[in-house]
């Protein structure tokens, strides 16, 4: 009965930005991102994408609490890059990759349905 409403999981509250950025005070080129209303779905894929980046020294995320619908992402990069840059690039790359996946899927689907139509 005390469970939060379902929409809480994905509707970003007003006045709160989707992603917030906070630089680490002690380590250079390190920062933490808070992504609101996301969970392991995004967290894991983003982290693994960041791991592919050679300039990224550390990338990790955590879901602070199962009922707090946000993830904390921490990135540490070499001096050639910056956390923000790495983050953006990871998102872009993921975007492209997913687009590609979608296109491939659709063409394949079209091919298949085309075949089906022939019969």
């Amino acid at each position: 009965m005390n469970a939060p409403d379902r929409y809480e999981r994905f509707v970003v509250p007003e006045g709160v930005s989707k992603v917030s950025y906070e630089r680490d005070t002690k380590i250079i080129n390190a920062a933490s991102f808070t992504v609101e209303r996301e969970d392991h779905t995004i967290g894991n894929i983003l982290r693994m994408q960041l791991h592919r980046d050679d300039n990224v020294l550390f990338a990790g995320y955590k879901l602070p609490h199962p009922l707090k619908y946000k993830i904390l992402l921490r990135i540490h990069t070499t001096s050639q890059s910056s956390p923000m840059q790495a983050y953006n690039q990871a998102i872009d790359d993921l975007d492209k990759e997913l687009d590609h996946l979608k296109n491939e899927f659709e063409t394949e689907l079209a091919r298949h349905t085309g075949k089906m139509m022939e019969y």
């Binding site: 680490d24 002690k26 020294l57 550390f58 995320y61 904390l72 540490h76």
Partner: protein, 1472 residues
């Protein structure tokens, strides 16, 4: 049943009931096991008349009993047919053949004088046995025995099944064909022993295979002996195999046998042979004994038991030795290995199963105690007797001398259900004496750790769930034979270890600081959970749920629940003997027995049992109170008999009432209201008798009066503590006054009643002490308002009398026990004075207007009597010194009493000083005073600083060596070692329930007093090393003292903790750390200092944390009050809280956490504070963790300042716990590492522990057993930790080092695997630091080459999945690990099963390489790998060899071969 057959074994004589001509049958052992009386081994071999007609039933020779058991059992088959299948002379010859071959082996076996034997002559058999026993034979035996005496062999006799088969095969090979008749040499004795030895690590087990012994008595007898030794009693398979062996042997020629023997002997260790020979001789010897005592058959006269068993002494001695060796070794093993502790223990307990006990409770011998699986299974439930074979049980050794061979525990318990009352009594006596001996030995253990027999295990086995002892005892209590009931009551008394407990309680009650009884019920700690970092030391819980003790009536039960069964009772009794008894409704039965006017001794027993039950737990005490008529009956019996006569029953009744009253305030009130209290204490109101009158009554009477009066006074004390009867105190005060004054000591000593007199005096003063606690403040004017306070009027005379006692001039001339009783009086006097003085001190006042004149009087008395050495006085030695000496050198009780004396003295001195200080005397006034007065005015303590300091140091030294005694209490999670109560509960040496512990606790209390009066010099001005060392030693001592304190002493711990966490003490710790860092090589000093306010905050935060963590008491879940609190506070709740305080004077183990576990100081950093789920603690977690780290480093630094004789409890805590705690602190966040100071501290701690680990590594100990030492679900913890590392750490180096430790070589394989997998899955392998940056040496990670299949596979999996790619770039230790272990494994010496694994791993690596060219560098490194310490490259030949090996592994798979060739060309290019 084994009991039957083995019993028969020991008394080898022909069954008289059986005529010679009776049919002798070859009986399959399967049947024999089901048969009665062990006919088979009565001396008639089944081989004798193999061709005899085979009837379908077997007559039972001893069917003389009214219980109509099945004396007829169906016969199944003759298994001996095989033996004679060769078709030779079947009749008679075959039988001889069995053993003829043995004769030739005589030159190898121990020779025994031959004896002429012409034929079967049963008539003279008995005589012959006697002659044989007394002839030179036995001398020879003794000689050989002496010769083989020195051999230390640990013998473990196991079921013979497997071993016999092994040896029989051996023999079979050599015995092909030839059948040899060796009738001619059938005279003489041979003994062939064949063993199959197994060297298993360090532990040597001898599996006795078979022994065939030929005795020169008769064919019949020899066959019997052989059969016996072969282990015929062990069940069917063995005997079948044995008969097969015999047949084989009979077929072998003499030469063949000699050859075989020589071969076997050559294989054997001569020591073993000696030991076995000795064993065989012991058997013969015992046989002799039992034979010679054949005539004594007075089975039912148990009273004569002791006489008979005396004659067995020699047997016992022989028996004891083997036993001793076994026991000792087992116990040594347990103390060493932590992880296999439980296994070692259960082995010890299991070995008790076969022990046989004589009637006086001593172990007889375990030689015949083989218990085969089948037998133990049949007697599994302890009631393996069905209706059908009940007679088997009852005829248990009615033949011959029943006590000679002894009984095992289970046999004895079975015998308690015999239909013959005499046997029941006998069994109960035996049980009682075994238990009695066990408990006495357990207690004695603490003095001399080398007990001869493993009594702890015996105790545990007997009380354990398997024999169902409690159940049998409860049934026997319902017996209608008085002797049985009496014996049963005695046995129950022993089970509850009544006497021992009473002894301990009595002494602890003598101590003036006694706070109340501690419940004796067995308890265990609740399981550690992750929120507390798996730290042990949760709340204690009762072994049995209180609700299980008293079962509500059937009507109360909800329908759904099953009916209450006996099985439930037995389960409960297995968890906790006492509550099992209560559950089985022992109380109504006892009540009934008491009502039937039992004999005095039985009554005493019964009341002792009741006392033990009342001490068990509040629930049991309540059950006694609630049991109808029980208490009333006891009270009535108290007054029923002659009033003036005092007997032990009366004393015990008073004890019982006292215990019951202590448990519950309500019962106390009930006793007062219904007059029981007055009834049982009327002796106190009698007209006071003078000392002379008392003395005239004689020593015995004095003893009884003294004991009774003491208990009555204690009962009074309970009432006063509750605040009842204070107004009636003046009634008994006149009587008390007789005892309060100092008598003429000579008179007492001459009459030898010093002890008795002093006991009463001491108790009176203790009573007055309680009364003094109820005094209104001295300065408050007017009459006491309520009845809860008493008036000062009693104390005028009392104090004067007390001062007399303080004159102790002649104390040095007294004997020990007199001194002891005198010291008890003095300690109680001091305590009373201290209570009186406390009533004078006003709270929150800075000065007093006037001083009552008894205050300086007390002070002067102390000074004049030379209690302390003052600078002005130069007396020889002070009393304090004398008492300290007594503490160090005397036996325990005297040591306790002298410690108590010192406690009282210190308290009184402190109070006097305080009062005089408050009185504000003007210094100018006392210039003219005498020197004694001057000392008083200056403050006694100030004038004797040296003395007090000395006392403190000597006690600190004591305590730092004493704390270990508390540790064994919780070796095992549930119930300790045995489910007994009090002394019998768990721990070795009585554990908590021993004088040793009591003494340690008294020392702690004294230390506490001393610390209160000694000041810590403020750290700022005193920077001398000596001062620092001294304070650190004090801290060390307090840490040890905290571990000693048991339940109920919360206030002591509280004060000790307050002491440690004072700001000045922490400052000393800080200084200690700095000096420690200076001394240590290679560690840099911190570049910062802890500021004043930081230390202040640590002091606050740590004190609160530790007190909350360890001293809080589990609140009983009360749903009503919870609801109330939700609705808002109302009156109900406050009543609930208010009553909780004072309803009881006892302390329970359950619902609290004391005593502290050894690693309690880790709790500050080992508590997981999940940020989101805040717990009740309102503290700043981060601050607690920081403080905890600082404190930990501080106390780790202490040992460098200690002298070698002091042991530090911090060092004693295993390193695995400390490393684990360091990990836990990271689980709740990175806060600790983000702070610069605590990061440095953390790093230093890692380095310190790393060094310890490196040292340990040298001795090749697997020291980091996270899973078995800390928690079985450790993998979950590691996953959480790695997740934390992967999510938040930014690859922090210190964090990485901490994680890396889980990959260390001394960590158990499963944890290493879990850690690796977690790291690999989280893709953070590359984040771990290089090997050089880990806090232990690199060898630790690399040294034992990994051979765990799963870990190697995990390595390859990570390699293939690409998780290691980055690690290569970053030089992480993970890649070094993988390269090292994989290359050592693949290119090392692999053989056997590992070969396929190697090929598999190599192939997958190559396959991976052929797909992913980026792994080329790694592959090359793998092939060219050489141990990291050599910078040179591998010699070319070696690399060539490796490449060749790779090619071989490819097995012609083309793609793999090309991969190898590719690598080869690359490497060649590289090399060139």
């Amino acid at each position: 049943m084994k009991k039957v057959s083995s019993g028969g074994n020991k008394n080898p004589k022909p069954p008289k009931t059986k005529p010679l001509g009776a049919t002798l049958l070859g009986i399959n052992e399967n049947d024999a096991a089901g048969l009665i009386g062990g006919i088979v081994e009565k001396g008639f071999s089944e081989t004798m008349l193999p061709s005899a007609p085979q009837p379908s039933v077997l007559p039972f020779p001893v069917a003389r009993h009214r219980s109509h058991g099945p004396h007829w059992a169906p016969k199944v088959k003759n298994f001996n047919v095989n033996n004679y299948g060769d078709g030779d002379d079947v009749d008679g010859v075959g039988e001889r053949e069995d053993f003829d071959g043995m004769d030739l082996a005589a030159n190898v076996a121990n020779p025994v004088p031959r004896k002429e034997k012409k034929g079967l002559d049963f008539g003279k058999w008995q005589e012959k046995m006697k002659i044989n026993g007394n002839s030179g034979l036995s001398e020879k035996k003794k000689e050989t025995e002496r010769a083989s005496h020195g051999g230390h062999v640990k013998e473990q006799y196991m079921t013979v099944n497997n071993k016999v088969s092994a040896i029989s095969e051996e023999i079979k090979e050599q015995s092909r064909g030839s059948l040899h008749s060796v009738n001619a040499i059938s005279k003489g004795t041979t003994k062939v022993e064949m063993e199959h030895t197994q060297h298993n690590g360090s532990c040597k087990e001898i599996h006795t295979v078979s022994e065939i012994e030929r005795k020169p008595i008769s064919h019949m007898d020899s066959s019997f002996a052989a059969r016996k030794l072969v282990g015929e009693e062990n069940g069917s398979i063995e005997s079948q195999i044995d008969s097969e062996n015999c047949a084989r042997l009979s077929q072998m020629s003499a030469d063949e046998i000699a050859e075989a023997q020589a071969e076997i002997m050559a294989k054997l260790n001569p020591e073993l042979i000696n030991a076995l020979k000795k064993r065989a001789q012991a058997k013969v010897k015992r046989q002799k004994f039992s034979d010679s005592e054949q005539s004594e058959k007075n089975l039912s006269t148990v009273t004569a038991d002791s006489d008979r068993t005396c004659s067995h002494d020699s047997v016992k001695n022989v028996a004891g030795e083997a036993q001793m060796e076994e026991g000792n070794k087992a116990s040594v093993n347990t103390s060493k290995e932590n992880c296999s502790l439980w296994d070692a223990w259960s082995k010890r307990v299991e070995s008790v199963r076969g022990l046989k006990f004589s009637l006086d409770g001593s172990v007889i011998n375990s030689d015949f105690a083989h218990v085969s699986d089948s037998e133990s299974a049949s007697s599994q439930s302890g009631s393996g007797y069905s209706e059908d074979n009940v007679s088997q049980r009852d005829f248990l050794r009615t033949e011959g001398d029943p006590g000679a061979s002894g009984y095992t525990i289970k046999e004895a318990i079975a015998l308690t259900r015999s239909v013959v009352p005499g046997q029941r009594t006998l069994a109960l006596h035996l049980l009682a004496s075994v238990l009695d001996r066990a408990i006495v030995s357990i207690c004695r253990n603490q003095v001399e750790p080398e007990g001869s027999v493993d009594w702890e295990a015996i105790w545990a086995f007997t009380l354990g769930p398997e024999p169902e002892l409690v159940f049998s005892l409860r049934m026997c209590l319902d017996d209608n034979h008085n002797s049985v009931v009496h014996a049963c009551a005695k046995a129950i008394q022993c089970v509850l270890s009544c006497d021992m407990n009473e002894y301990i309680f009595d002494i602890s009650e003598k101590t003036p600081t006694y706070l109340g009884d501690v419940c004796t019920a067995p308890v265990f700690r609740s399981k550690p959970d992750i929120n507390a970092g798996f730290l042990r030391g949760g709340f204690w819980k009762y072994n049995t749920k209180p609700s299980n003790i008293i079962v509500s009536d059937e009507s109360d039960k909800p329908e759904g629940e099953g009916e209450r069964t006996i099985k439930d009772d037995i389960v409960v009794a297995g968890q906790d003997t006492a509550s099992g008894l209560v559950r089985m409704e022992i109380l109504p039965r006892i009540c009934h027995l008491l009502e039937t006017d039992p004999a005095v001794s039985l009554e005493e027993c019964l009341i002792s049992i009741l006392i033990a039950l009342a001490r068990h737990s509040p629930e049991c005490a309540a059950a006694i109170i609630n049991c109808e008529r029980l208490v009333q009956t006891i009270a009535n019996r108290f007054t029923l008999k002659q009033q003036t006569e005092i007997n032990p029953c009366k004393i015990k009744s008073v004890i019982l009432l006292k215990v019951l009253a202590r448990v519950d305030k309500k019962s106390c009130l009930k006793f007062i209201k219904n007059g029981i209290f007055q009834k049982v204490t009327w002796h106190l109101y009698r007209y006071p008798l003078s000392l002379d009158q008392w003395l005239k009554s004689g020593k015995e009477a004095c003893k009884l009066t003294s004991a009774l009066l003491v208990e009555q006074l204690r009962l009074w004390k309970v009432c006063l503590q509750y605040g009842y009867c204070i107004s009636e105190f003046s009634d008994i005060f006149t009587t008390l006054c007789v005892w309060l004054s100092v008598p003429t000591m000579d008179k007492l000593i001459n009459n030898n009643v010093m002890n008795e007199y002093c006991a009463i005096t001491k108790e009176s003063y203790l009573l007055l002490d309680v009364l003094a606690g109820k005094l209104p403040n001295f300065y408050s004017k007017g009459t006491p308002q309520d009845s809860n306070t008493c008036s000062w009027s009693h104390f005028g005379t009392t104090i004067d009398l007390a001062l007399e006692w303080m004159n102790v001039k002649g104390i040095h001339n007294l004997q020990d026990f007199e001194l002891n009783s005198l010291l008890w009086v003095i300690s109680s006097v001091f305590n009373m004075l201290s209570s009186v003085l406390k009533a004078v001190i006003l709270e929150n006042t800075s000065s007093l207007q006037w001083l009552p004149d008894f205050v300086p009087k007390i002070g002067l008395q102390i000074i004049k009597n030379g209690y302390l050495r003052f600078s002005g006085f130069s007396e020889n030695g002070s009393l304090v010194e004398y008492l300290c000496n007594l503490r160090l050198k005397s036996e325990q009780e005297l040591a306790i009493s002298s410690t108590c004396c010192l406690q009282g003295l210190v308290q009184v001195i402190a109070s006097v000083d305080k009062l005089i200080n408050l009185a504000n005397l003007e210094p100018s006034k006392y210039q003219s005073l005498s020197s004694e007065d001057k000392i008083l005015a200056n403050g006694i303590l100030k004038s004797s600083v040296v003395e007090v300091r000395d006392m403190l140091t000597s006690f600190m030294r004591l305590i730092t060596n004493e704390w270990q005694c508390m540790q064994p209490i919780e070796i095992f999670s549930r119930g300790g070692l045995a489910p007994g109560v009090g002394v019998g509960w768990g721990a070795p040496g009585g554990g908590y329930w021993s004088l040793k512990t009591l003494l340690a606790q008294q020392d702690t209390i004294l230390l506490n007093h001393l610390l209160q009066i000694s000041e810590i010099p403020s750290a700022i001005d005193a920077l001398e090393a000596e001062e620092v060392g001294c304070t650190l030693q004090m801290i060390n001592c307090v840490l040890a003292a905290c571990i000693i304190v048991g339940p109920g002493n919360n206030s002591v711990i509280d004060r000790l903790l307050s002491f440690i966490f004072q700001v000045p003490v922490l400052k000393y710790l800080d200084m200690g750390i700095r000096q420690f860092l200076n001394i240590r090589k290679g560690s840099k000093d911190f570049r910062w200092n802890y500021e004043k306010d930081e230390i202040f905050s640590f002091s606050n935060v740590l004190a609160t944390h530790f007190k909350n963590r360890w001293l809080n008491i589990k609140k009983k879940q009360n749903p009503v009050s919870q609801n109330n609190s939700k609705r808002g506070r109302n009156s109900l709740e406050t009543i609930h809280e208010g009553t909780e305080e004072s309803t009881s004077l006892i302390h329970e183990w359950a619902h609290q956490r004391l005593h502290l576990p050894a690693h309690w100081f880790l709790s500050a950093i080992s508590t997981v504070h999940l940020k989101e789920t805040d717990m009740e603690e309102p503290l700043d977690f981060l601050e607690v963790s920081k403080g905890g780290l600082f404190f930990l480093l501080g106390i780790e630094a202490i040992p460098t300042f200690l002298t070698s004789e002091c042991s530090s409890p911090v060092q004693w805590v295993p390193i695995v716990w400390k490393l684990h705690a360091l990990s836990v602190v990271l689980l709740s966040g990175m806060g600790v590492l983000e702070d610069e100071k605590s990061r440095d501290v953390y790093e230093t701690l890692q380095n310190v522990y790393g060094e310890i680990l490196d040292e340990k590594k040298l001795s090749t100990v697997k020291s980091l057993q996270f899973e078995s030492d800390i928690h079985q679900n450790y993998s979950t913890f590691i996953e959480a930790l790695v997740d934390q590392f992967a999510a938040e750490s930014y690859g922090d180096e210190v964090f990485g080092r901490q994680i890396a430790i889980y990959l260390h070589g001394s960590v158990e394989a499963s944890v290493r695997l879990d850690a690796w997998n977690a790291l690999s899955n989280a893709r953070v392998l590359e984040l771990l630091p290089p090997l050089t940056k880990c806090f232990t040496k690199a060898e630790g990670y690399l040294e034992p080459i990994e051979d765990d299949e799963k870990i190697l596979e995990a390595y390859v999996k990570s390699w293939v999945s690409g998780a290691l790619e980055k690690a290569a770039n970053r030089g992480s230790m993970t890649l070094s690990l993988v390269l090292h272990h994989l290359s050592s494994f693949i290119f090392g010496n692999v053989a056997g099963e590992k070969l396929s694994l190697r090929n598999k791993l190599t192939k997958s690596l190559l396959r991976d390489y052929s797909r992913k060219q980026q792994h080329k560098g790694m592959m090359v490194k793998l092939i060219c790998y050489k141990k990291h310490d050599t910078t040179m490259k591998q010699p070319v030949t070696e690399v060539e060899k490796r490449l060749q090996l790779l090619k071989e592994i490819c097995e012609g798979n083309s793609s793999l071969v090309t991969a190898v060739e590719d690598l080869e060309s690359f490497i060649r290019r590289d090399l060139n």
